[in-house]
């Protein structure tokens, strides 16, 4: 077993960089933690959703009378029970969101909700849902970007015209928008190149694959208010979106976050919440709605299937001269694929003087895509990092060296616009180049691949409150759902600020009425932004405590300093007052001690990752085994190194699954054929080696502890790292994901046939 490298945390920190047990850990190893489906309320009903069996159809009529007459049934709702947001002047995106949670005039994908039922038992609810009689008029459907972009394609949304075209088009289209980025002179750039490689790539839709299905419990009252418990990446966002769909003011709903059983971007959007709320309002009883796994696959997530074409030129001494990128992303039923982010990230790691990037957001008759860990970036990086691998081989230089010669550094103009602040891309490349893994010898049928990746990271809005308790211990109150150990990071930063042991700090995720507004847990933003709010609140508390000590000693506050958890007089003339002593006397110094900080975080620190993968390919079956994997990622500062490593490892393994196995398989008639974990195969423990981590720390100067955010970038490189390793092992370049045994075997056989007798 390889030992995981210790990050080189700032030696000046006493708490930050240590690895305490997380505050919510005990509840999670003893079964006490309550996730979305675990809440039971007195008199609670169970719900079920009727979903479209067709990929594209007009709803002619819905007859719910038989269902309403069935035993145990308390409420049945359809699209007719929801307000018409378009008539109320709502934004088009909100109208589409509303129609996605409950279809109105037509269904746009298999699994699209058509009606919902609340009954005494789940069995009764499902039976009643099945008894709802829906008359459909089938419409032709499109399943791929190629089908959807064809001139004679059936149109999903009447009146939808492609944005980003000049002149504006005059016909409806399934292309929702076109994005471009460009710099320099593309023709000149390719003319300057000694070697040009052009390849086309495809990737299939993949699901985030969180183990906990979506779940929501709603309890609406006769006064038109509702309590909502749900598992999400942002309960404020659930409140806002649910209220929009219902036509309510957001504050009529109080959302209490359940523990969240994985999200990866897929739990940033509403599905069940408005349905449960309306069913509860209609029945006068609490209602619980939980998706079955096949509903999760058919109607939530996934990430876009894509089609990409990439052409890159390089000089013989390894300078990239030009890049031409074309991308089309499936959005699913409504516009909003991450093609924009893909277009911004695709060339971001490299200084390339001439480029043109063009991307299309395309609607198809599949579930509307949701964010998935660095949305858009992994597919784009698969294409570019595969081509770079071929270029390095073509000019005979090491693939890490090719990337080093073109890597962006502080001050580089990013391909998507701004100049990079302090970044650690070169450091991650050097960490892989210098890692023992990179020097080991390989055996027959084995190959090594490297790839790099970029992700912006995000800031956005956070609020945090820090309360000093009567025993001098702290409670940190945040509104950012914790999906990977963030409560622990909050405790560490608060402890560091106050100079106390982390064991004296607890952190909780509070409901929408207990803490101020917070954007979703997404964009790798929580440790950065919510962390900054916690630090800000702690600094207010330190100032407050110094003032109270000054009052106690009858001195000016500027002669009082806060050191190692206590107030001291700068000349040592007073007996220091500890946090506990000051807390015990708060009644005499101004009352309880508490502070809140609310901010829109700036100073986001971009993230880079470089990864190396060794595989062995069975030439007889096409099976690919990952032998060894090392990932180097710039964390800025690793607040809790174990959870930083965990994010890095988790991202890599999701990427390995995306590369090798995972895909949505649709029949030609638009039905998802693998809506379960048996046939949608995510990696299991026996598929994998240890995932070695090198936590690079190039602190983000704009954050009090140098945090960048670590959640997402780890999933960007693996698709190409695995593909490059397979190419090295077999001599065959695979350009279509997943690189499953049949595809690999077919590619090997075709190559042998082409070059053989």
């Amino acid at each position: 077993m390889t030992v995981t490298d210790e990050p080189t945390a700032n030696p000046g920190y006493k708490q930050v960089g240590t690895r305490p047990i997380r505050p919510d850990g005990l509840d999670k190893v003893t079964g006490k933690a309550r996730f979305g489906a675990d809440l039971v309320l007195p008199g609670m009903l169970e719900g079920a959703v009727l979903r479209s069996p067709h990929p594209h159809a007009t709803i002619v009529a819905i007859d719910t009378s038989a269902a309403e007459a069935m035993p145990g049934v308390h409420a049945v709702i359809t699209g007719a029970d929801f307000p018409d947001l378009a008539a109320n002047g709502a934004r088009p995106d909100d109208v589409l969101m509303s129609k996605n949670v409950m279809a109105r005039d037509k269904v746009l994908y298999e699994g699209h909700p058509v009606a919902a039922v609340a009954a005494a038992t789940r069995k009764q609810a499902k039976a009643a849902a099945a008894a709802i009689d829906v008359t459909y008029e089938l419409l032709p459907h499109v399943l791929t970007v190629e089908q959807a972009m064809a001139d004679d394609a059936p149109i999903l949304h009447e009146g939808m015209r492609t944005r980003g075209l000049d002149p504006a088009p005059e016909v409806d289209s399934n292309i929702a928008s076109r994005i471009t980025h460009e710099r320099g002179d593309l023709d000149q750039g390719f003319a300057d190149a000694d070697l040009v490689v052009e390849r086309s790539f495809t990737t299939k839709p993949v699901h985030q694959g969180y183990i906990e299905p979506h779940a929501a419990v709603a309890d609406a009252s006769q006064d038109g208010r509702a309590n909502l418990w749900c598992s999400s990446q942002g309960h404020f966002s659930m409140r806002t979106s649910t209220a929009k769909v219902l036509g309510w003011e957001p504050t009529r709903i109080k959302v209490t976050p359940a523990e969240i059983g994985g999200g990866f971007g897929g739990k940033t959007v509403i599905y069940l919440e408005p349905l449960a709320t309306l069913l509860s309002l209609r029945s006068g009883r609490p209602v619980r709605l939980v998706m079955d796994r096949d509903e999760v696959f058919r109607a939530s997530g996934p990430a876009s299937g894509t089609s990409l074409r990439v052409k890159v030129g390089v000089t013989e001494d390894g300078q990239l001269t030009a890049a031409d990128v074309w991308m089309a992303f499936e959005a699913g039923a409504n516009p909003g694929s991450p093609v924009g982010a893909a277009g911004m990230t695709v060339l971001a790691p490299y200084d390339i003087p001439n480029f043109f990037v063009e991307g299309f957001d395309v609607v198809v008759n599949k579930p509307r895509v949701a964010a998935y860990r660095a949305p858009g970036a992994p597919m784009a990086a698969f294409a570019v990092e595969s081509v770079l691998d071929e270029l390095a081989a073509g000019i005979g230089i090491d693939p890490v060296e090719l990337r080093l010669r073109n890597a962006v550094t502080e001050g580089s103009q990013a391909a998507y616009g701004p100049k990079f602040p302090v970044i650690g891309f070169v450091e991650t490349l050097e960490a892989i180049r210098d890692h023992p893994h990179y020097q080991t010898e390989l055996g027959p049928n084995q190959g090594r691949g490297v790839a790099a990746g970029f992700w912006f990271n995000a800031g956005m809005n956070s609020t945090a409150t820090v309360n000093v308790n009567e025993d001098g211990n702290l409670t940190v109150v945040v509104g950012s759902p914790d999906i990977g150990g963030s409560r622990s990071s909050m405790c560490l930063m608060a402890a560091e600020e106050l100079g106390i042991d982390v064991g004296r700090v607890n952190a909780i995720v509070a409901d929408t009425e207990t803490v101020g507004f917070n954007d979703v847990t997404g964009g790798s933003r929580v440790t950065l932004a919510t962390g900054a709010a916690v630090v800000d609140a702690c600094r207010q508390i330190k100032d407050d405590l110094r003032g109270r000590a000054a009052k106690t000693w009858d001195v000016e506050v500027d002669v009082v300093e806060w050191v190692d958890g206590q107030a001291q007089h700068v000349d040592g003339s007073e007996t220091p007052l500890t946090l506990g002593e000051l807390a015990a006397k708060w009644g005499r110094t101004g009352g309880p001690i508490s502070a809140t900080a609310a901010l829109n975080a700036r100073g986001v620190g971009p993230a880079f990752s470089t990864q190396v993968c060794d595989v062995e390919v069975d030439p007889e079956t096409g099976e690919v085994t990952v032998l060894r994997y090392t990932t180097a990622q710039d964390a800025g500062t690793a607040i809790h190194p174990s959870y930083v490593e965990g994010q890095m490892q988790g991202g890599v393994v999701q990427g390995i699954g995306w590369a090798l196995n995972e895909e949505y398989i649709y029949s030609d008639d638009g039905h998802l054929e693998n809506p379960g974990f048996l046939d949608y195969r995510v990696p299991v423990a026996s598929d994998l080696p240890m995932i070695d981590t090198v936590v690079v720390e190039v602190p983000n100067p704009a954050h009090p502890y140098g945090v960048r955010g670590v959640g997402e970038v780890g999933i960007v490189p693996p698709l190409a790292a695995v593909g490059n390793a397979i190419a090295a092992a077999t001599g065959v370049r695979l350009t279509d994901l997943p690189m499953s045994p049949p595809r690999v075997l077919d590619a090997i056989n075709r190559a042998a046939g082409d070059g053989g007798d």
Binding site: M1, R19, I21, R22, D24, G25, L26, K28, V29, T30, G31, K32, A33, R34, F35, A37, D38, V40, K123, Q208, G209, Y210, I211, E212, P213, E259, I260, G261, G262, G263, F264, V290, D292, R293, I483, G484, G485, H640, S642, Y643, E645, G646, Q647, Q649, G650, G651, V652, V653, Q654, G676, F677, L678, V682, P683, V684, A685, S686, L688, M690, I691
Partner: protein, 164 residues
């Protein structure tokens, strides 16, 4: 419809509940007995989140009808710790950060106990295969495998484990 009366031993306690004939043991444990530490991830035996020991055998509770549990002995995640101490594998999961979201954790802990109960000194490969029926989407399994190996070592040094 008349419901079926089931008597079994759950986490050491004799327990009775009423269930539908076609109800799964998973639903009975969660909804009728209130042991919500047993999680549903798929309902088809593919994810292992509902792993329990049924008569000492690692079992997906979603694949067993509740009436089949009559007379059985069942251990769930809620039964792993004593009042004084966590099970060693619960402790190493905490110390080794072997969970992120934690929803798969109950199933992994039960599966790990099932392994360590009969193999006190597993290799890394044996741990990986013993846990291959449990899906985790957060961790990439690295820290889970290490935590199980660490727990095995702790249990051997404490003399808490003997081979069958």
């Amino acid at each position: 419809m008349a419901r079926t009366h089931v008597t079994c031993t759950i986490n050491g306690d004799e327990t009775e509940f009423l269930c539908e004939q076609d109800e799964t043991l998973l639903n009975a444990l969660r909804d009728d007995v209130g042991l919500t530490g047993v999680k549903e991830g798929c309902g088809t035996g593919d994810c292992g989140a509902c792993s329990v020991l049924l008569n000492n055998r690692l079992t997906c509770a979603c694949l067993v009808f509740a009436p089949e549990a009559d007379g059985a002995t069942i251990v769930t995640v809620e039964g792993l710790a004593s009042a004084e101490a966590l099970h060693p594998v619960q402790q190493t999961f905490l110390e080794g950060a072997a969970l992120q979201c934690g929803v798969c954790t109950p199933g992994f802990l039960v599966a790990a106990k099932a392994l360590l109960d009969h193999n006190p000194d597993p290799t890394e490969t044996e741990v990986r295969y013993a846990l291959a029926g449990n899906l985790c989407r957060c961790t990439g399994y690295d820290k889970i495998v290490r935590a199980v190996l660490d727990a095995a070592a702790d249990m051997r040094s404490d003399g808490a484990l003997t081979a069958d």
